[in-house]
């Protein structure tokens, strides 16, 4: 009888202690927000273009991390981003719905600009400067090529140009050999089937 009592008491005491430790740990090690959201967000290209159907990169990251949105909606990120997100979320990769285009940059034809500031308000990364009734211009170094400024422009004076290729940014392509081509096809097929 005493043995049973000891067992109950010691187990009960242990459970109580464990409960206290867990309660304290929950308070001390509490994490603000969902760490997964930030991890997904870090993989996204931050163009803030909204082509995924969400109003920006962070909202899409939130949707992927906590609402189970598909991993293949990011257009500018391309296949590499899709694979990285799928890998992070532990889900199967999914084929992209839309091909990624070459990186673009917005350009304001200044002599046609009427200075309405609508594009300035639309730019998600503050890459357009100007004041009312003054020419606006795009800071090419900050432009993400999201095209969000094109639509609001009442006089259609914004062009999307292909980002000029710089020699410093030139990278060697894969060697053009039979085998590497096969490897490419194999990879593509793999991504397609999955």
């Amino acid at each position: 009888m005493m043995g049973l009592l000891y067992a109950l008491l010691s187990l009960g005491a242990f459970a109580l202690l464990a409960g206290v430790v867990l309660a304290v740990a929950q308070k001390v090690f509490h994490v603000e927000g969902d760490p997964m959201v930030d991890k997904v967000d870090a993989l996204l290209p931050q163009t803030q273009c909204g082509q995924c159907g969400y109003p920006g990169c962070k909202p899409y990251a939130t949707a992927v991390a906590s609402e189970g949105a598909e991993v293949n909606h990011c257009v500018p990120g391309g296949e590499r981003t899709m694979l990285a997100i799928a890998d992070l979320m532990g889900v199967e990769p999914k084929a992209l719905e839309q091909e990624a285009t070459a990186p673009m940059v917005a350009f304001v034809r200044e002599d046609e600009c009427i200075g309405c500031t609508l594009c300035i308000k639309a730019c998600p990364v503050d890459a357009i400067i100007g004041a009312p009734k003054q020419y606006h211009t795009v800071l090419a170094a900050h432009c993400t090529g999201c095209e969000l400024c094109v639509e609001p422009c009442p006089v259609d004076c914004i062009d999307m140009l292909v980002k000029p290729e710089l020699i410093e940014h030139w990278a060697w392509p894969l060697p053009k050999t039979r085998r590497s081509k096969l490897g490419h096809e194999r990879r593509e097929n793999h991504a397609g089937h999955a």
């Binding site: 590499r80 500031t117 503050d126 100007g130 030139w170 060697p175 085998r179 490897g183």
Partner: protein, 524 residues
């Protein structure tokens, strides 16, 4: 000999140090016995605004302006940069983008000079004959002003190597006269013909870095050069502690880190420079240019170039003005039709395959090779599957495992490739050379390095964009709250009146500028 045994023997002092691996390609040094010639003046010279490692220069001359030989025509922007000088007298014809010797075939802003044929020289700089008693900092400034960059091919600004900082004490100066690339003989000829200039340049640099010890490293296949250098050394009384060391002929003996290990038994760690282990390593051509800059007061406007290859009937070594068109040089040597001919800028192992000969000679041009298509490695071979023979690992002078790395690069597993020290690869091409399956290994490594660099750039840009977008969201939130507060106060004072207020305040110029400042540090 097995690597472990060799390592042990080296440690016990029974055997000279030597880097791992390496290969013995055919030498083809057909132009070695040919005395150098001055290249006749061309009519047009193209000077790219970046012929060194670092930031590009900006032009300081206008179109139509007359310039003299040695006149500075572009100034350096930023610390890691050296100015550009006119190679001959003439008129600035245009300033525009022009092709440079680069595998991409792309161009960069360049200054084109129409030569007037008089070749008048500018004389502004004073010769420093009494360099023994001159402040090293002044000499260093002279080396920078004269536009010197490593003429071995890497074109690292020379003045940076001649560091004047008490934290980095240089113990030994190493003169690199190895020239391990097949075909090239420009350094060989320099040592034979300008031994005294080279030694004077060495003496100046030893004075600058305050050391008495130096090694002149020459490969076994240039015994005559070693002899000439030894004789020239013996004739001088200020260089008692300078040795000429003859190293076995093995590619890539001339690679900086490998050479330093062969000579001193010390390794330069990954991501570090020779200066971190107290070594200053310079090419013989650069050393001569130091002498010319200091004692002759001449800016770098000329260099030795080997012109050779199996498609060239008359190979040779030419003293060529920087900016000379390559097509003109090939023409001088009887090559005018370029069909079926491939042009290399540099040696066959590490040189760049060019798309066309319409590029100028730049500071890094140690050689120009014209090779027949048929004799080109890879022209008639097909890449086969890796058979795990391990030859590439044995040949790698950086002790990497190329057969593992190549799979990682090919399948875009770049983190893994980095973990396997992809960035320690010096791109010498020894692995591709020995591969029995004809796998272009070094090409895959270049691809991998390029992709990693691009991903890093994208990451930095994305990070900056995120910060800008977050700042914008914060600002919008702040404006909204300010608006709400205003509405509240308005309601209190004129309760019945309905105020129409715009949704969001317009973005002000200050906001954009603030955001710009916020992100300045993150862009590039």
């Amino acid at each position: 000999m097995p690597a472990m045994l060799r390592n042990l023997a080296q440690r016990l002092g029974m055997m000279a140090h030597s880097f791992d691996g390496g290969i013995h390609p055919q030498q083809h040094k057909v132009s070695a016995s040919l005395h150098s010639e001055a290249c006749p003046l061309a009519s047009l010279y193209t000077l790219p605004m970046k012929m060194h490692i670092g930031s590009p220069c900006s032009p300081i001359v206008a179109v139509g302006e007359r310039v003299l030989r040695g006149q500075k025509i572009a100034k350096s922007e930023g610390y890691l940069s050296v100015p550009v000088h006119a190679p001959t007298s003439g008129r600035i014809l245009r300033i525009e983008k022009a092709a440079i010797p680069h595998p991409s075939g792309m161009g960069i802003p360049s200054i084109v000079i129409e030569a007037d044929g008089d070749d008048n020289e500018e004389q502004i700089l004073e010769p420093i004959n009494d360099w023994h008693n001159t402040d090293p900092a002044l000499l260093r400034e002279r080396v920078r002003m004269c536009g010197l960059a490593g003429l071995g091919g890497a074109v690292f600004p020379t003045f940076i190597k001649l560091v004047q900082d008490s934290r980095f004490a240089i113990e030994t100066v190493i003169l690199n006269g190895i020239e391990c690339e097949p075909w090239l003989t420009n350094d060989h000829r320099l040592m034979l013909e300008y031994a005294d200039d080279i030694l004077s340049g060495l003496a100046i640099m030893m004075h600058m870095v305050k050391t008495a010890s130096a090694i002149i490293a020459i490969e076994e296949n240039k015994a005559d050069a070693a002899l000439v250098m030894r004789e020239a050394l013996a004739a001088r009384d200020d260089m008692a502690e300078v040795r000429v060391v003859v190293l076995p002929t093995r590619y890539p003996q001339g690679s900086e880190k490998q050479l330093i290990y062969s000579l001193t038994g010390r390794e330069v760690s990954a991501g570090k420079l020779p200066i971190h282990i107290g070594v200053l390593c310079l090419n013989v051509g650069t050393t001569r240019a130091v002498y010319q800059a200091v004692v002759k007061a001449k800016a770098l406007t000329e260099r030795m170039v080997t012109i050779s290859g199996d498609a060239i009937a008359q190979p040779g070594n030419l003293r060529v003005r920087i900016g000379t068109p390559m097509r003109y040089l090939f023409g001088l040597r009887g090559l005018e039709n370029f069909t079926g001919v491939r042009i290399l800028h540099g040696g066959p192992m590490m040189g760049e395959l060019l798309r066309h000969p319409d590029v100028p000679v730049v500071k890094s041009t140690n050689g120009m090779l014209a090779m027949r298509e048929a004799s080109f490695m890879g022209a008639h071979t097909q890449e086969q599957a890796c058979i795990r023979c391990g030859h590439c690992s044995e040949a790698c002078p950086s002790s990497l495992v190329p057969n593992l790395l190549v799979d990682q690069c090919r399948s875009d597993q770049f983190e893994k490739a980095e973990a396997y020290n992809l960035f320690d690869c010096i791109e010498c091409g020894a692995c591709s050379y020995v591969c029995p399956s004809n796998i272009p290994l070094v090409h895959y490594f270049r691809y991998g390095k390029g992709q990693i660099a691009q991903q890093r750039r994208e990451k930095v840009f994305a990070e900056a964009s995120r910060e800008r977008s977050e700042y914008r969201d914060q600002r919008k939130e702040r404006d909204k709250q300010a608006l709400a507060a205003k509405r509240k106060s308005v309601r209190k004072t004129h309760a019945p009146k309905v105020e129409v207020v715009k949704e969001n305040g317009p973005t002000t110029a200050t906001d954009v500028v603030n955001n710009d400042k916020l992100n300045k540090g993150n862009i590039e």
